[in-house]
């Protein structure tokens, strides 16, 4: 069954999603990414106060046999980290677009978001890579 990718989110080719409210961006990885990884066993995230840069590594997600970097889609300062993932990494598999958000970032350049993929663009991008 094809997953639904929320229309109000933006996406990266590295399979992160971002949703903006005011000057705060919430970031996670996509349903496609969690399926590719398989059962997630650990999520390594930055700490509040760390700065993240668009396109640069900000953490990683591990399954039993693979580890995948998580790239920040935006630039800014980490203001909150989803502590729940430390004890319940399986949330990334269960609800990647919701409960398993990873970090909230205060945007230093909100315009950056505009250059990211829309839900429709992302969907056609992953359909292309699945063939």
């Amino acid at each position: 069954m094809a997953a639904t990718y929320p229309e109000n989110y933006r996406y990266t080719k590295e399979h992160e999603w971002v949703v903006v409210e005011g000057d705060t961006a919430t970031i996670g990885i996509t349903d496609y990414a969690q399926k590719e990884l398989g059962d997630v066993v650990y999520v390594d995230l930055p700490q509040p106060g760390d700065s993240v840069v668009a396109g640069k590594t900000m953490g990683s997600v591990e399954s039993v046999k693979a580890v995948s970097d998580v790239y920040s889609p935006v630039t800014g300062e980490v203001i909150e980290v989803n502590q729940k993932l430390a004890d319940a990494p399986e949330k990334v598999n269960e609800d990647p677009h919701g409960e398993a958000w990873m970090v909230k970032v205060r945007l230093s350049n909100p315009a950056e978001v505009e250059s990211l993929l829309t839900a429709a663009e992302y969907q056609s991008y992953i359909e292309g890579s699945e063939s």
Binding site: V41, Y42, D44, E62, S63, V64, K65, A66, V67
Partner: protein
């Protein structure tokens, strides 16, 4: 060649199946220029008898199995007979790394026991499945502290084994690690904590001490921990003589413990193979290098063991791995596990107390350089005869003496590091004392 299990007829049969005429056809596709130009000059293959005879002769040219007062990172402890009997079983000796859990539960369970016993012994919460040795455990522990603290400086007491420090230097040189080496207190032989405190700052990832230290002296781990923690640095405690922890309070205040287990039924074997280990707190488990065995269940709910947290390892993370360590020292770690099992809770205590008694008997007969508390090693001041001369005299009596310290500490040129384990006999210790006192 007796290890090749085929007859010439069988080889011909296999070649025929492949449409080949001779064995040399198997590599006919190799470019001419890479082929061996003349046969290897290694002589003809030798029989089993010739091989044992050859090594027996070489073995005879070594001074071995004599009373020995050397320690300094390799200790002469009695090895219970069961150790060789059990590690010699082909199922342990000739098995591969236990990646296939269904047919490796034996190795996996022994490693799980090893990890558990090392936690019990060191006061830490998790221990890895072993690393190459104590010396290489040190840079691995330091790298781990760097990842945890995201700092790049380490303060190292010069009472840590000199060769361990040299290994750290080799690793540090190309990894952007800054090291500050601190001295020892002249009369106690303990690390100079005041100097460590001065050197420890907000850029310091870890303070590194050894206890008992290279001079055999027990360090003040509590205070070292306070100094490190006050600046947000970790405390790494190194050990080379784990028998000490039969009686000595383990370094519970440390964040990382890295050590050498040779004392636990691993023969001195001219320096290797030994087994190192790194233990730490639960919260740092994902930064711990080396293999780890975890308990789990199989699909039918039976208890089972498997290698776990393997994503830290290089076959998955490649250049981002926590370390490039691939092998652990499973068979050597198994010797240590069997040793700990044979002695157990009471035995290790009794063994440690015997070591303590022997070393203090010997120390009581010779001038000591330091007065800090010690376990089974101490520094003797050899004022009458030079250390090398003491050793030469002892060798004449069939005794291997101590380690002349001038080699590592020029200011201790007239000192000998002496170790007395449970295997030291009173009359031999008396002979050592006489040699030092010039009698």
């Amino acid at each position: 060649m007796r290890y090749l299990p085929k007859s010439d007829d069988e080889r011909r049969e296999m070649l025929a199946e492949l449409g080949l005429e001779s064995l040399d056809d198997l590599y006919a596709h190799l470019p001419e220029e890479v082929l061996l130009r003349e046969p290897l000059k290694l002589g003809p293959g030798k029989s089993e008898y010739e091989i044992t005879d050859y090594f027996r002769r070489l073995s005879g040219r070594n001074v071995a199995g004599r009373p020995c007062f050397l320690g300094a990172g390799a200790y002469c402890h009695y090895r219970p007979v069961l150790v060789d009997v059990l590690v010699g079983r082909g199922e342990f000796l000739t098995a591969y790394t236990p990646y296939q859990a269904e047919i490796s539960q034996g190795t996996l369970m022994t490693i799980f026991e090893f990890q558990t016993m090392l936690c019990q012994l060191t006061g830490m919460e998790v221990a890895n499945a072993s690393v190459y040795d104590g010396s290489t455990a040190v840079p691995e522990a330091v790298q781990m502290a760097r990842r945890i603290t995201r700092r790049d400086r380490v303060v190292v007491a010069n009472t840590v084994h000199p060769e361990y420090r040299q290994v750290l230097e080799t690793y540090a040189r190309h990894q952007g690690l800054e090291t500050a080496v601190t001295g020892y207190v002249r009369d106690t032989g303990m690390a100079d904590l005041e100097e460590i405190e001065r050197e420890t700052d907000e850029r310091t990832a870890a303070v590194l001490i050894q206890s008992p230290n290279f001079f055999g002296v027990v360090e003040d781990v509590r205070q070292a921990a306070e100094i490190a923690h006050a600046k947000g640095a970790l405390l790494i405690v190194v050990f080379t003589e784990p028998v000490a922890y039969g009686v000595l309070e383990p370094p519970r205040q440390a964040d990382i413990v890295a050590g050498e287990l040779q004392s636990f039924a691993i023969a001195p074997s001219y320096g290797g193979p030994y087994a190192g280990v790194i233990a730490t707190r639960q919260k740092y488990i994902r930064q711990l290098p080396g293999r780890l065995v975890g308990r789990t269940k199989d699909i039918e709910g039976r208890g089972a063991y498997c290698l776990t947290l393997t994503t830290r390892e290089q076959h998955i993370r490649r250049e981002k791995a926590t370390s490039n360590i691939c092998t652990n020292q499973a068979l050597v770690a198994l010797m240590a596990t069997i040793f700990m099992t044979v002695y157990g809770k009471r035995g290790l205590r009794e063994l440690a107390e015997q070591n303590l008694a022997k070393a203090h008997y010997l120390a009581g007969k010779v001038p000591q350089k330091f007065f800090g508390p010690f376990f089974n090693e101490f520094v003797a001041h050899s004022a009458v005869r030079k250390p090398a001369e003491v050793n030469a005299r002892l060798m004449e009596r069939g005794i291997v003496g101590g380690l002349p310290l001038g080699r590592f500490y020029p200011e201790l040129e007239d000192c000998l590091l002496l170790c007395a384990t449970e295997m030291a006999r009173r009359e031999d210790m008396d002979a050592v004392a006489e040699a030092i006192l010039g009698r």
